[in-house]
Amino acid sequence: MANIRSICIITINLTLLSCLSHALYEDQVGKFDWKKSYVGKVKFAEFDARKLVVGTEENVVAALSSKTGNVLWRQVMEDPSEQNIELLKIEKDIITVSGNENLWTVRSWDVGTGNLITEWIISVDKVVLYKFDVKDNNLYVVAHDGSMLNVRVFDVQTGLVKSSLQIPFVATNNQCILVQTYYACLVHNVVNYVQLKDNSKVSTIPLQSSENAKISTYKSVTPAIIITTSSVNSEIVFFNGDNHQKHITPVMPNAIGVIDSGTPLIFQLEGTKNPSNLLIKSTIVTNGEELTREFEYPHGLGKPELAAAQCIDHVCNLLLSSADNALLLVRFPEAKVMWTREEALSKIVATEFLELPVSELDASIENEFKGGNVISMFLHRITTQCRQLSNLVFGSQFLANTGLVRDDFGLHKIIVVATKSGKLFGIDTLTGSLAWTYRLPNVKPFKMLDSEKMLLFVQRTARYAPLPAQCTLLAEDSITGNGIIIQFDPITGYSEKSIIRLNYKIRQALLLPNDDENHVKPLVVYSDKGDAFIYPESANTAIATHASHTYLYTVDVNKNTLNGHNLYREGENIKTTLSWTVNLGPSKLVALSAKSPIERVHSQGRVLPDRSVYYKYVNPNLLAVATIADDPIHKNVLSIYLIDGVTGFVAYSTSHKRAKGPIHLVHSENWLVYSFFSERFRRTEVVAAELYEGSTQSNSTVFSSLAISQLPHVETSSYILPAFPLTLAVSLTERGITNKFLFFALNNGVVEIPWLLLQPRFANVACGPEESCIPYMPEVPLPNEAYINYNQTLERIQGIAVAPARLESTSHVLVYGLDLFYTRVAPSKTFDLLKEDFDHILIILVLVGLVIVSFITKYFASQKMLKQAWK
């Protein structure tokens, strides 16, 4: 009996789940989603036949097609915050060395497929600087402790030590390089070098001028170094046996060597008189013969550097890597840019979805009543409606012409992203193509708890035509650490004022909800000195009335405190006072989450089976905070607090023993979901906490944090997540009617899980299909159909950005990390749209059929009546 019951429950669960989970059909693949793969900022690059093999600062080895720039294969190694790639060389296979200060992994990869061939480790106990290089299947590992070179030669394939040498070599360690079998150091005004073999002697290269001299590797087949003495002047020194030989003419600091049909060539990049053009110079090493070509450097890219070169039959591919992490492939004699990759997009630090402006045609309808007399208004109306009709019939040419215009359902948006390298992008949601780019020099993101973020605010949307939309980005100056601010049009990427460098550090910033006369939402920036600044400054008077009831919070990571501040107006300036402080010490603050400011809660409460309403505690000012404290008995104790941002009132707190990070928080409506790793059970647990006011609502019209009558009732339940979440997010829709879905970013993609599955069940309420309640299951199911990225691998997911479409059922989702993936999700299916497989033909046929049949039957009925009448 019990068996049957459990089977029944399982089947019920399954049916409910199948109703809840929203999966794609196979023919919908790529219809409204796109994925872009990135590899990160290139550190090593080498050509091999038609492939370009790169090793990047993201600790990634990848092969790109040198024809198109697409990723052929990609192998993601350990986390770049712990391990870095130190060497990449192509011998027969690709050889990489990656690791940290005393432990390295040597791997060799197949060039064609990217399969691992061998893997072995080098571990050392002495932490000094180590240099690696590969020559003829030997891996040279050089440790230099100031007076002695300890050289170990490993066999690359097996990891066996072939020989080890000790060579006396006195030099300071910081300006040393290993080039194949030569070790060279810059010492005061000479360069000392030695060949790594038994009984070899240190030789010296004298320098003409030693100020600001630098040495670097000259990338070529023959061992050579570049000695740079000034920003435009440097020379190549070739090593040959125990001797060296200088190249006849001086070169640019970033020269690269390549062999073309047996002739060694030097490639250099030079600037030209025309700032948008660059000059490529190729010099034959043996006779100094030169060939130069000028080409137009793509607009918007940073300063380029030569990263790799390859020549096949006098046609050369040059790989340029720019200061803003872009990669370019230039074909040489033609001087043509073959492809460009924006690797900056592998490190996104801020995102925002923006509605597009209306098309010219729609905008002209808006202006209808602005014209003078009645006749002109009438004519205007007739012409616009004629154009609308022609658009409807002949397809909208206007859309095709202008591209970025609003559609009916808000499905076409522009995503503005800011990247760590300080480059801004506008991305079209329909195609994933880049609409514009904007480069900010010398900026870096803010450090926030465990992540790096820039602050991006939408001050004015595109709704107020002809005024353009306006976005503001806040970041940090990478030199001074002060704040920077930039305003730009998110649709075109045009910035009127360009970058403004502030003379203070930014602690917090918030957007006020009230527009000023130009429909711009004023931005309040709070400095580290405790002053508040308003942008634009003209809004200062406009917000005077709102200042007194504007509150902001700041987090002090060092002291583990949360502070609340109240704005007030003093004369012409806005000042702040400290209104509350919550000290969380000695625990360490690890995560913080606020609700999305654009979220709307549709339903006020939950209907109980007796048809009474249990009201939700919907406090938009609530902050969720997680701290971890060391405990002698329970190892780590995780504490979760819900703190009101206006008053500092702790609405709820709880703790978990023997819990470990990473902690992820998601906070929406009246609930909080968090995940942590339980060391006791060695599994990831997810806890859902829901806050209720009770069966009476204290104030049904407006919520006030200052009017607290009682503590909210809290319902909680916890679940096991059979995976390791990387980040958490929740769906967001226009009006909040649609069911909420949670997005769990896992190692193999993003899973959507209905909130209903996690929602705490009431102990005294029967749970069943009639209450649309799923019986409690301890383990959160992760069905394959729930992966929104289906079989596309998304590596190192850093965040999920969610925005509502104008269609209530649909949310936009952008998953960013090493890959960029965009899709649309409809948690309750698209209930406000006809299904895409809706059969228009069938319904027309049926209607026509019914009309015909009704006429025929009428005819027969009248015939019958006639016959009966004659009887």
Binding site: Y25, G159, P722, S862
Partner: protein
């Protein structure tokens, strides 16, 4: 699958030999450490082999590159060699969950436990109960199934078509018209029906006329048209 298992045994031996060697070299490097520390900082290598489904050649030619092995969600990473074997180097003693991720195949996660003496134990992952289902070590992991990410579109079926409400709407009245008169052979129901028809009679002749006129086409008498027009007006 069989052919996978019958792979030449020499290869396997070679590999494990190589593993020992590489481990030795690592141990060599660690030798200068004091012996007490070795136990604490001891690092181990998890080894095993992945078997995809037997039809892999037809569906995914380069499954090795697309397969990733993650320990504790990415704390350590392993890569699959051409023959399906993998190594995860440098793992300290402890308990780990090993996931094998491939976009097209589903693998079962495993729990691998390494004690401080370097003894390995592997079992199936069960987060709810602490039942131990041991798995032999070195690990041999087979793909469970092809992963299905998509819903299957409903196929066109005759029954679906017939029970479609619109089709029912079309055919049910037809059936009623055809079958009901046959059923009305007994006199009582006939009488009832006639009564009902008498009730609705007042409109029918006019509509019948309209239809017959429409079908007759040419013989439209103007008087009738007028009458109809008046009646139509009245109705409005």
């Amino acid at each position: 699958m069989g052919c996978r298992n019958k792979r030449p045994p020499q290869l396997r031996v070679d590999l494990s030999l190589y593993v020992c060697l590489s481990h030795l070299s690592a141990a060599n490097a660690e030798l200068p450490n004091s012996l007490e520390e070795v136990n604490d900082n001891a690092r181990f290598t998890i080894e095993g082999r992945v078997f995809p489904l037997s039809d892999y050649q037809t569906t995914q030619s380069n499954w090795q590159t697309n397969t990733r092995i993650l320990i504790n969600g990415g704390e350590f990473r392993g890569f699959v060699k051409k023959d399906g074997s993998f190594l995860i180097n440098n793992v300290p003693s402890g308990s780990y969950v090993m996931e094998i991720l491939n976009p097209d195949y589903t693998f079962e996660p495993l729990r691998v436990e390494i004690n401080s003496k370097g003894k390995f134990r592997a079992r199936k992952v069960n987060f709810i109960q602490s039942t131990v289902v041991p798995v032999p070590y070195p690990l041999k992991v087979k793909a469970l199934t092809n992963t299905r990410y998509f819903q299957v579109r409903e196929q066109w079926r005759l029954t679906d078509f017939i029970f479609n409400p619109m089709v029912m709407m079309m055919f049910l009245p037809l059936v009623l018209i055809m079958i009901l008169p046959k059923m009305m052979n007994d006199p009582e129901t006939k009488k009832e029906m006639e009564q009902i028809q008498n009730l609705t009679k007042f409109e029918m002749p006019e509509m019948g006329d309209y239809v017959s006129n429409l079908l007759a086409g040419t013989s439209n008498s103007p008087s009738q048209d007028k009458k109809k027009a008046i009646k139509n007006k009245k109705r409005q």
